[in-house]
């Protein structure tokens, strides 16, 4: 039987890849019985959504103007 630390490790790993069959069964079994880890799993999904949205909501990408400006500066440097 997994403890919560182990279950949370597997739940995190499951966000990134398909777990081996046995590990997945152990995790699902734990989640059936453990409300805390079920909540943690929900939080993991919430976090992923937030991270995806942060790219636009927190402006984690260069604007077209900035990109162009930098591209020009690089070109000048290479030519000069």
């Amino acid at each position: 039987m997994l403890n919560c630390k182990q279950a949370s490790q597997l739940a995190s790993r499951a966000m990134d890849e398909k777990l081996p069959l046995w590990k997945n069964m152990a995790l699902q079994m734990h989640l059936l019985l453990c409300r805390s880890c079920t909540n943690f799993t929900r939080q993991l999904h919430f976090l992923r959504k937030a991270a995806h949205r942060s790219k636009t909501d927190l402006d984690f990408q260069l604007t077209d103007e900035a990109r162009q400006r930098i591209a020009n500066a690089l070109k000048d440097k290479q030519n000069g």
Binding site: S8, S12, M15, D16, F46, L47, A50, Q61, L74, K77
Partner: protein, 189 residues
Amino acid sequence: MIEGNNDLNIQTWLEEHGDYLFSYALLRVKDTHLAEDLVQETLLAAITAKNTFSNQSTIRTWLIGILKHKLVDQFRRQGREVAIGDLIDQDEGDNLDNFFNANGRWTDTPDTFNNPDLAFQQKEFWKVFQQCLTGLKPKQVEVFLAKEIHGMSNEDICKNFALSQTNVWVIMHRTRLSLIKCLKINWID
């Protein structure tokens, strides 16, 4: 993935790594224009230094290394004492004592947010989210940004940051625990 000196194509650096470098800088300096300037300075310095690029590292790791030095210069100009070591990970080991007791049970039992979808519409939430990202350890920020925000595959993460698959699991687990805890403490929904 560009590797090897023969393939050093500077314009693709901007395409492939510009957003990543920018988001990393933004988290540190919290000023859009300053972050843009730092990306530009980093890439310009990279052109000058491109002969020093060694195949031992990947372009991204190399560029991040240059950016960190630029950040330290920037902090110094602002009169902030930040050493390059502060931007590089100290070994954290596998210690999860902040989250679990010796029996592997939660020290603070996780609950959920009442209305997660509403969170995204609130400015305050994004402020807290950004603060929580800023509070992560150096390696955690680097990997989390690359993976969860810029969509890099696990395979590329391993290659770029010279990490094993297990390292990535451990870092991501710890990062997620930290972020969730930080959000829960600082954001009241």
